[in-house]
Symmetry: D4
Amino acid sequence: MDKQTLHRLLSEVREGACTVEKAVQTLKDFPSEQLDHTCIDHHRTIRTGIPEVVYGESKSSAQIRDICRAMLHKSAPVLVTRVDSQKADDITRDLPQMTYNPEARVLYHHVKSTRDKEQGGTILIICAGTSDIPVAEEAFLTADCFGNRVEKLYDVGVAGLHRLLSRQKMLHEATVIIVVAGMEGALPSVVAGLVSCPVVAVPTSVGYGASFNGIAALLGMLNSCAPGVAVVNIDNGFGAACMADAIIRTG
Amino acid sequence: MDKQTLHRLLSEVREGACTVEKAVQTLKDFPSEQLDHTCIDHHRTIRTGIPEVVYGESKSSAQIRDICRAMLHKSAPVLVTRVDSQKADDITRDLPQMTYNPEARVLYHHVKSTRDKEQGGTILIICAGTSDIPVAEEAFLTADCFGNRVEKLYDVGVAGLHRLLSRQKMLHEATVIIVVAGMEGALPSVVAGLVSCPVVAVPTSVGYGASFNGIAALLGMLNSCAPGVAVVNIDNGFGAACMADAIIRTG
Amino acid sequence: MDKQTLHRLLSEVREGACTVEKAVQTLKDFPSEQLDHTCIDHHRTIRTGIPEVVYGESKSSAQIRDICRAMLHKSAPVLVTRVDSQKADDITRDLPQMTYNPEARVLYHHVKSTRDKEQGGTILIICAGTSDIPVAEEAFLTADCFGNRVEKLYDVGVAGLHRLLSRQKMLHEATVIIVVAGMEGALPSVVAGLVSCPVVAVPTSVGYGASFNGIAALLGMLNSCAPGVAVVNIDNGFGAACMADAIIRTG
Amino acid sequence: MDKQTLHRLLSEVREGACTVEKAVQTLKDFPSEQLDHTCIDHHRTIRTGIPEVVYGESKSSAQIRDICRAMLHKSAPVLVTRVDSQKADDITRDLPQMTYNPEARVLYHHVKSTRDKEQGGTILIICAGTSDIPVAEEAFLTADCFGNRVEKLYDVGVAGLHRLLSRQKMLHEATVIIVVAGMEGALPSVVAGLVSCPVVAVPTSVGYGASFNGIAALLGMLNSCAPGVAVVNIDNGFGAACMADAIIRTG
Amino acid sequence: MDKQTLHRLLSEVREGACTVEKAVQTLKDFPSEQLDHTCIDHHRTIRTGIPEVVYGESKSSAQIRDICRAMLHKSAPVLVTRVDSQKADDITRDLPQMTYNPEARVLYHHVKSTRDKEQGGTILIICAGTSDIPVAEEAFLTADCFGNRVEKLYDVGVAGLHRLLSRQKMLHEATVIIVVAGMEGALPSVVAGLVSCPVVAVPTSVGYGASFNGIAALLGMLNSCAPGVAVVNIDNGFGAACMADAIIRTG
Amino acid sequence: MDKQTLHRLLSEVREGACTVEKAVQTLKDFPSEQLDHTCIDHHRTIRTGIPEVVYGESKSSAQIRDICRAMLHKSAPVLVTRVDSQKADDITRDLPQMTYNPEARVLYHHVKSTRDKEQGGTILIICAGTSDIPVAEEAFLTADCFGNRVEKLYDVGVAGLHRLLSRQKMLHEATVIIVVAGMEGALPSVVAGLVSCPVVAVPTSVGYGASFNGIAALLGMLNSCAPGVAVVNIDNGFGAACMADAIIRTG
Amino acid sequence: MDKQTLHRLLSEVREGACTVEKAVQTLKDFPSEQLDHTCIDHHRTIRTGIPEVVYGESKSSAQIRDICRAMLHKSAPVLVTRVDSQKADDITRDLPQMTYNPEARVLYHHVKSTRDKEQGGTILIICAGTSDIPVAEEAFLTADCFGNRVEKLYDVGVAGLHRLLSRQKMLHEATVIIVVAGMEGALPSVVAGLVSCPVVAVPTSVGYGASFNGIAALLGMLNSCAPGVAVVNIDNGFGAACMADAIIRTG
Amino acid sequence: MDKQTLHRLLSEVREGACTVEKAVQTLKDFPSEQLDHTCIDHHRTIRTGIPEVVYGESKSSAQIRDICRAMLHKSAPVLVTRVDSQKADDITRDLPQMTYNPEARVLYHHVKSTRDKEQGGTILIICAGTSDIPVAEEAFLTADCFGNRVEKLYDVGVAGLHRLLSRQKMLHEATVIIVVAGMEGALPSVVAGLVSCPVVAVPTSVGYGASFNGIAALLGMLNSCAPGVAVVNIDNGFGAACMADAIIRTG
């Protein structure tokens, strides 16, 4: 439930357009709803601007399904990250209104956003290599689901700079840029040296040996010599999208 | 040299208000000026919105002084981070227009910003404990020097939550929040759970033993369970301010 | 064999209520019984107050079954941690008096405790997210099996503080609190800042990327800025329950 | 201000023994007092049972002195850890009522505790070697200052077990044991295998090479095969004493 | 081929008991024999006293079989470590004279040793817990295969010291002791504090969480406060037996 | 003594131009000369093409002086790395023919190389920032002392790509490029994406926080997505020059 | 497309031997071709001398097949590393002109090199043990595919030095040596101490326990006391071959 | 007090050669003597064959002096490691019978050993470079002080193998070899491949960058591919000597 929806409900109550009983029914799980295993934070959108998103990795199909069902009842947008295809099959069988994106491993249900996409800024998602696409797509789906205008520029790593330099117009038109890269994670530094907008850097676990599952990229990004860069956790496309979304909302 | 200054200069040339010779003189070190030891990037403000800032840690007093002098000649704002008091004494003796802040270890020369502070948003800087203040002050001086409206809320760590919860109004009025914390670095998660604006988290090296000079705080922040948080390097108050400044400039 | 049982046996011998032969039979594997592969420490409860608990991870079904059988013969409570469902099936087929909890991965046989639950204090087990429940449940089953009064408060992580703050009464009534959390592991600091009882913190391996399988949470808890916190190994719900049980027994 | 003091003050107000004005004066910095650089949490004792203790490492002499002075005005017990002798000299010159213990690096002012030492239990502090004494003494002074009965058993490391085994009576009479050890940190496992009370383990940075400033001891203690052990940060004698004190207070 | 065998062969040649042709045949793969994929070091026993032992982990069944066959032709003892049961089945089908021990994961062919077991000393192998037995058995089989007198004392970890202290006679009669332990790895320190013979410590990967697959035990052993301890790699029962064997051979 | 010098000496002996006695005198410390504390490897140039270079960090002034004196007697070029200015003063007082470069911390004595600089290729040394210059200079002095043609391009880090891109001609004319960079260490990837010659990457310890004294840069370089890059130790300008020199000598 | 091919095409256009239309057709995907998921860098050979090689680890069979097909259309040599046998089967079914080497896990299509093998130097690939062969073979296939003369010397680790010392002629005839080793990674130091050519060291993940998947070998090589060594990532046979190839091309 | 001395004393008592009173006086601090700060383990030599040696690093001059004085009173040999020259001056002023070796940082008092040096074996101490000598000397002084025959072979690292190979006779005559090396720590593998006696490896903190203060050498030694090697802590010359001494005593 976002701020506008709550405001409208309460106005309707004051104006008699909604009975107190119906409002109680609507609000009874507010601010949090206790399932057997989970305490859903329906109050989050109002407090933080970001809907509660479910981290699917260590939850069972049944747990995820219960949470989704409870959220769908509230007409909330639903987004579940880190869902493997087996769990996705289990859940969409029961909840066919949910959609699964296997590359991003995201399960979601779009709700038409109350935001005007054209007024807000543009989030540009850049990734260094083909192997980084799953993380970039998790960021894309999250940012899109939150109601943002999002563009993509993929496979433009620093070993072939001309691929990036030839797209500078796209870089300069973005309001915020998410840069996704594994291995040495050098791309955010190069991008941030070319633009004036904020850059959210996402290290990925792509690589082997001394990449240490993304530590090399993470450290590279934290030590970026270019100012205007901040970093999220390894493979955390979702988190980058939340940060970018929060930045767009400041506008 | 920022974009507006360059625009004005070129307009003056077109309108005859400035001779070509004078413009050449002004622009001759543009986009970069080669000192003996350093290649100053005078083009940076136009490209990235952020002036070139000098990292003083591993430079000698003489090197810093030469760079500052070259930058003062261009009427650029000057900011040197990680300057110890001995170097600061050496430099301000030669360049008395520079000011030194010993707590933040920053040496700077303010130039009246071309931005209108009142129109932009507010950067709120929060720190967890008294020991985190030097890093918070580096962030404050940087953000202030770049022309932002900045407020502070210090010593409000999670072990005494009432100190933070009693200041929620301040949190909700901020456009972007910088949270500085050492030890377990839990404060950004708590703050991000309360607000809807972007949070830039700065781990500090405050602590001992298993804090590993800030690694504990860094990891805590990277793993924040609250969305809308991005992280900069340990003790990097400067970097947090650059990110916050870039966010303000998107508005 | 606990202290009271030994005391009673020896009293019976002195009073003639038990023959020496029968006492010898009862005590013959005391203080330790040598199986082929294992030396069971039947003396442990007397020495440390805690029964010997079997760590099942790297033992075969057959080894675990032999140990359980030997312990059941002594009327000891039996608790085996880290047992997967395949091993549990193997063992309960032979030893149907054993019960298996698949979420906690614990196999156990309750023996009515000689303690009076109502007199001792209360252990409260808190966990930050749904994914932390298996570790919390291992703690719950262990503490319960040792004869304690135990309560639970699950899914109350720091990103939505109101869930925790609204349950402060429960926090204040506890004698000792076990706090289970993964990711940044901030919850023990927040809890310890609200209560005056000892807090036993359990980091979990829940998370990804820079959580490094629980290192982030572990370091966060070790660096807690709130006094009155001590930490056990990652995912060690059993160990936390032992510590909590020892604290309850000091009362 | 502890709970009893607050209770008494309010009772006096109700009974007319104290004027409202005087009560206001007493309570005006309650729950927190804002100095220039620090926000003192005078409410902490009531909330957590533990007075606010100052971490002196990264504070200046002047900052510590200001905080001490503010706390002395409230008749609170004062304890400052990690104070070097230079700072101690600076501060005790201005505040001669403060006492400095150079081995433990603790600066303190005792206030007669409202607790009855004889009724509570006993905290036993054990350390493995002479080099661990400073950490053990920090624990001792903290526990003593909080009003506990404390005993010591020093230099009884596992390389000469007879030194420990000959003192088992002392071990068995303790209510809670703090074990301080560096190098391989094996002592807590051995102690916990001998007793039934809770053991709080403190790794120290004593050692060299692969001790990695206490990491070896820390890991050893976290992996203790003996149940009933919980761990605090490296060299954190203060934290161990807080945990032990909280355990004593449950009694 | 060991030193004595070579000496005898050459003596026979000198005395005419062996023709030059036959000696050439025997020696033709000396000092090394080149298979397609492997260069077998038949000279090793003479040079180092230890036969070439095959590390089976990353070799295919076919590679291991070829090497074993070549070594069996030379009447050398054959020992292959880290062989899973699938590979063992493949190989023993072709080479039925080889024996497989599944617990130790060792495949071997005994050759009657030329040493007199009764004259050399005794190697005692101690392990802390049941889970450490596979590593202890790898050490046992290796030492036994090299012709040593070996004894075992298993499941005597430090959490129940009486199990170890009651066997001190066994400890004092050993010439060299191998101590195998996981988790905190404290057992070698305790053993070395009780005996005067050399102690070879083997950390195992037994444990979870902060045991980091044996790092905790490794660090504990490297930092042992008891002199007379040296350490081999994690889970390296083979290496410990080689060191113990070399020590026995100095006698 | 290099290969050509030895060849000439032996030719002179064969032709009678040099007496056997004199040759013996010249060769008597060949292949190695035993000082009290050091065994100088005079044979190294012949074997490896690289003169023995002295690592000065952990040697005393007296030790370095003795080694230098022995090498000067053989007319060998002398190069001592990691010498602080105090040691340099001590040594040059006794051996005035030695020269000290304080920025590179190198002490050296040039001997006219027998190579023809014009025929070999060019080593280009690039560094990312002013703070990396000491390491770059160590590489420069080493390569120069070995008789190579060396050029420099300093302070051209990736945050301002135009500084590098404007010098592409210089990059394309180099035979081998040494790239020195700290912080995120991204420069070698960018350079290797632009050229076809081998790139030797040198991470530096420049940075703070999560640079971990050069680990971030080291990992970045090891994970370079651009082929044709190999890496040497952190701050090892000397080692990079040796590798570059060996590459030049293959030509 | 390499430099010579481009030169010839343009010459043909100038001389009328090729129509502009045909040249456009040939060059239309130059410098990069955008597939759905990948931006192929056809310009790379000209820029860096090394064809674009595909990293197969995290790409699907379909993605790899599309890229290979696009590259085969340009008559480019094709090399895909880190391909498991399942993917190889999928791809070679569609593209039978591709060859798969299961030991090296490389999929490739040779194009007759325009280089004269006899004129360039020789790359010698050495490996320490049988387990290191897969990485050595990846290096072999890469170097061979790029048109180099390559020789091999396998299973000559430092524990049996005579195997290496007896092959010194081979060492001295190489132009550049690639040394592949796991465990302690000591072989590159020993080799570099014997030769004067550049040594490219490749650590492998062969080992267990404290080898930490190749970290021990990597650190050993980075700290080599022998000059003339540079290092690539763990298991990066491909990268070592690229470096060696670049060195050969300097000749 | 070693076993022989105790035996003699008790025999004298039995034979009347010593009064009971005098024996009591001699034995009164046996098995341990409690100083203010230290519990000296006079029983250690009997139990472990190794006298109690004092670790001086973290003890004050006064503490060390008290311990030495107590040990000198018992006619025990005295050995204090890790003593800086300032402490040594303080102590030898009071106890002139103590000798200080500044290179090894050892303070000692020799007592004529009851062992016959000629009958036992020989300990050979090898070190790789001049910078490793202090650690080698600590091992030398310790082994010598314990009554062993000790030889040295210094500065024979693997980068110049001929220095080691030319001394093979010395290697083959040793009973046990201590190998001291920093940087990549490859020397123990090479040595162990050449000899049949046990090798005790000591990594040193010599190196920089990725040597990580001896971790590289430590890991190299733990992963030695040559059997018959065991490892002690970084820079632990003392520990290596204890292990070697224990090995000699098995003979």
